[in-house]
């Protein structure tokens, strides 16, 4: 089917099987490889993107559901929240293997969009769906707090 979406700020027209998960359209079709495959069933968060401004697991989102939507991947994440989160991530050297980190950053940016001043509990709740097997969690927590502080000015 024909799909039209705004992807990272540009119009994107596609002709694909509408049941294809958004993840594989981003990766195999469009070569936007920052979004990762980790589990295929919304259990790990490595595939997190923003659809119409909200975090979404692209591995379980059929591409037909985003027809007409605005989709942002790590490559196009330039909101104030995403920038602040990325800056904090760099300052604290959060990534280890790095594989889940795009998803972590997209989830963290979404968390700060919804909640500019998250408590520890809010961070645990908001980031609980994003697995990091390297367990970079101590720094994820701190980076989100640092980003929130910077955004509040």
């Amino acid at each position: 089917m024909k799909i039209s979406m705004t992807l990272n700020g540009d119009n994107q027209l596609l002709d694909v099987d509408g049941d294809t998960p958004l993840l594989w359209v981003l990766r195999d079709e469009l070569k936007l490889t920052g979004t990762k495959f980790g589990c295929g069933k919304a259990q790990c968060g490595a595939c997190t993107v923003h659809v119409d401004g909200l975090a979404r697991r692209s591995c379980v989102t059929p591409v037909k559901l985003v027809d007409g939507s605005t989709v942002t991947t790590i490559e196009g994440a330039d909101s104030a929240q995403a920038k602040a989160v990325t800056k904090a991530w760099n300052a604290l050297d959060v990534p280890q293997c790095g594989f889940c980190q795009s998803g972590q950053i997209m989830a963290a940016a979404n968390l700060l969009t919804l909640n500019p001043d998250p408590s520890d509990q809010d961070i645990d709740d908001g980031m609980g769906g994003n697995l990091c097997r390297c367990a970079t969690y101590v720094r994820v927590r701190q980076a989100i707090k640092d980003a929130a502080k910077e955004l509040r000015g």
Binding site: F37, G40, V94, P95, C97, A135, V140
Partner: protein, 738 residues
């Protein structure tokens, strides 16, 4: 394109050349013509580790006209910090400015890039930094000497008047200065030094500092390229169905439904299963799920993990092959005032790196082979691919990619994944690349687990409360058997089965450690900290228990049993101070202590634990003291220890891999196999105990003490000694007193 992103570009604009690094040469790189300065390899392919003989620097450093210095990293970067750590060693001796440093994976040339600990190209056992410490410093020092010589020649000055500092070469007494890039070409025409002098520790300016990591920016922007991100021309996508039972094989299959799907190109059988080849990953995975396969289970393991555990427990009732013995253990037990017997049960554990096993291989028309993989044992994978495809190893251009986690999983002694993919590629036309990505279900159900293990310990106290006897019997599968490292097995003892138990540090009057090596078809593998994952737990929980029974304090009791020179002492004392300084234990919580040496690094931890709503342990804080010799990058040491604590905590809380009563793996994805999530991560404080011992690894040593520290806190909080793991399974499994 960032130069630290490995060789394959997404559109394959760069064809990596297998180069001959024994000579100076020019390499065509993404930045145009790059002057490559290679220092010849001293003892042609004959590695030497003797500190007194100089290992001449070799193909590790490249200086470009734009003044960037690229270090070729011989070990897989999988999150442990190899890129930054090894580049730091070069930069220190080269007197480079950190901002000019880059890192990328070295090609696979075993003679040049072998790990001195193994003799092959590969990394594991937390050896990455330790075995590179002199080699990379010498590479940097040799390069500096050549730049100095080039400057001396250019400015017609004695070499002793040339200074190098922070990436700038200058001539004392004149205004002459040059960058590395400006002198690289001139230097490449000179003979490399026969000998180099390394800086004394006291003069280090980069080693020991928190330099920012070289790969952070790429990994925090989605730009970093992993194997999963490799897309080359004419590429097909594969998905595989494996036998649901270990040891099973394909009897027959029907692929009619699969072949009816649009985008399916082929369905083929390989020794390890049935493979769908398609035009996209999604179609390959869908097609895989439509396959109707009959399996031959004649040789398969059909027992449950419960049955396997029962067999191990039975075996562990009597001692096995003795690995260590001193004192008269039988008499000591007989004459003891009190004797306690504890049986421990450890489950199979999966590594579940966030990036599942994956790879891309292409046989070119000229019979050379291109392979992209996050390979941890490159020599083995290269050789295996060559063997399957009928070419010579040097015809396989294995391009090491960033590993999306490993924890041991990408170090495959049988090259299982590489062999599987090569078998698949063999069925496809020459010139076609095939990309295989394991689904998470392939990964969780695919074996290569931390071995299921049983320990039985009989511990005795004499009338004065001293530990008079310690008899420890272990039943587990051998990890080394059948691997390229099998020669490490001596007298029937696989050292990875008993490490951390047979060599426990305490002075005990009589002690015996013995081993039963069990066999079954469930494939196993080293899992972050290997044997220490279970030996650390048993030794430190049993010792803590015996100390409590003898009315001794955890810290003082341990110190009294440790030799004067034991490096455990300093980390124990440091961690006790850290916890004390943070204030009293919270109400409703308890603290537990553990110390364990692994891979040459000493780690002591104190965990503060309370009970959560479900009645399970909630670890609120962990204090940790580490002695890893010289900490090349303390920030990375901390990161690795933080990660090790999270990895170890997940394992003891909820992780286990079980087989049903038909032998089927009962877990399949992260909904049933449950690594630690952020809400279970404690606050962590780490102190690095400064010593000037040579650096030892930090990738694994953070894991072993965490389990026993938590278990000891839990026992002191609740009276329950958890001996059957994970905690979630058997929180009420209290020990029986004899």
């Amino acid at each position: 394109m960032k130069s630290f992103i490995p060789n394959a570009s997404k559109k394959e604009t760069i064809k990596t050349t297998i180069f001959q690094p024994n000579r100076r040469q020019f390499i065509k790189g993404s930045l145009g013509l790059v002057v490559a300065l290679y220092l010849p390899f001293g003892n042609k392919g004959n590695a030497q580790q003797n500190a007194d003989k100089q290992i001449m620097p070799n193909a590790f450093v490249r200086i470009a006209p734009d003044n960037t210095v690229t270090v070729l990293i011989k070990h897989l970067e999988m999150g442990q910090g190899a890129f930054t750590g090894l580049a730091t060693l070069v930069a220190e001796e080269l007197e480079a400015d950190w901002s000019q440093m880059r890192a990328e994976h070295a090609p696979v040339i075993t003679a040049l890039y072998k790990n001195f600990a193994f003799g092959i190209q590969g990394v594991g056992g937390s050896t990455g930094l330790a075995n590179s410490y002199e080699q990379m410093r010498k590479a940097g020092a040799g390069m500096k000497a050549m730049l100095v010589a080039a400057a001396a020649k250019k400015w017609d000055a004695p070499e002793s008047d040339i200074e190098v500092k922070k990436g700038v070469i200058s001539h004392k007494g004149t205004a002459n200065t040059a960058t590395f890039g400006e002198l690289a070409q001139a230097a490449s025409a000179l003979d490399p030094p026969k000998d180099v002098t390394l800086k004394p520790t006291a003069e280090f300016t980069l080693i020991g500092t928190n330099l920012p990591k070289l790969d952070t920016q790429a990994k925090a922007s989605g730009e970093a390229v992993f194997t999963q991100d490799i897309y080359v021309d004419n590429m097909r996508y594969a998905a595989i169905a494996h036998s649901p039972l270990f040891g099973g094989s394909v009897k027959s299959f029907n692929a009619d439904k699969t072949k009816a799907l649009k985008g399916v190109i082929d369905v083929v059988q390989v020794p390890s299963g049935v493979v769908v080849i398609a035009e996209s990953t999604y179609v390959a995975l869908r097609g895989r799920d439509e396959l109707d396969i009959q399996w031959d289970n004649a040789k398969a393991e059909t027992r449950s993990t419960q049955q396997i555990m029962a067999e191990y427990l039975k075996q562990a009732q009597e001692p096995g092959i003795v690995a260590h013995e001193h004192g008269d253990i039988a008499t000591a037990i007989e004459s003891a005032e009190q004797t306690f017997t504890v049986e421990y049960e450890f489950p199979y554990l999966a590594h579940t790196p966030m990036e599942t096993l994956d790879g891309v291989i292409r046989v070119n028309k000229d019979n050379t082979v291109d392979a992209w993989m996050g390979s941890q044992l490159q020599t083995v994978d290269q050789g295996t691919i060559a063997g399957v495809l009928g070419v010579k190893p040097e015809q396989v251009n294995l391009m090491t990619q960033l590993g999306g986690g490993s924890f041991g999983r990408r170090a495959q002694p049988d090259s299982g994944f590489a062999a599987e993919l090569a078998q698949i590629v063999k069925t496809q036309p020459k010139g076609t690349a095939v990309k295989l990505i394991w689904s998470r279900e392939n990964d969780v159900k695919g074996g290569r687990y931390r071995p299921l293990t049983v320990h039985k310990i009989i511990g005795s106290l004499d009338k004065d409360g001293n530990i008079s006897a310690w008899q420890q019997t272990i039943a587990t599968q051998s990890i080394m058997a059948g691997s390229p490292f099998a020669e490490a097995i001596k007298n029937g003892i696989d050292p990875t089965s008993i490490e951390g138990a047979s060599d426990l540090p305490y002075n005990l009057a009589s002690r015996q450690t013995s081993l039963h090596t069990m066999t079954n078809p469930v494939p196993i593998l080293w899992w972050r900290s290997v044997g220490h994952t279970h030996t650390g737990y048993t030794v430190e929980t049993m010792l803590d228990f015996l100390l409590q029974k003898a009315n001794k304090e955890p810290l003082a009791g341990r110190l009294a049993l440790l030799p004067e020179k034991a490096r455990e002492r300093a980390v124990l004392q440091a961690v006790a101070k850290m916890a004390e300084k943070s204030g009293p234990t919270a109400k409703g919580s308890a603290r537990g202590l553990a110390v364990h040496k692994s891979f040459g690094t000493y780690v002591a931890q104190i965990a503060e634990v309370t009970k959560n709503k479900e009645g399970l342990p909630k670890v609120t804080n962990v204090w940790c003291a580490v002695d890893c010799g010289i900490a090349v990058n303390p920030n990375i040491v901390r990161a690795q220890i933080e990660g090790g604590i999270g990895f170890g905590l997940g394992a003891i809380l909820q992780e286990e891999l079980t087989l049903s009563n038909t032998g089927h793996v009962e877990q399949s994805n992260f909904d049933t196999y449950k690594p630690l999530r952020i809400y279970d991560m404690p606050a962590v404080e780490i102190e690095i105990v400064i010593t000037d011992n040579p650096p030892t690894g930090v990738g694994e040593p953070g894991v072993p003490p965490l389990g026993p520290a938590v278990a000891n806190a839990w026992r002191r909080l609740t009276g329950q000694m958890v001996t059957r793991l994970p905690f979630s399974k058997s929180i009420n499994n209290t020990m029986a007193e004899v």
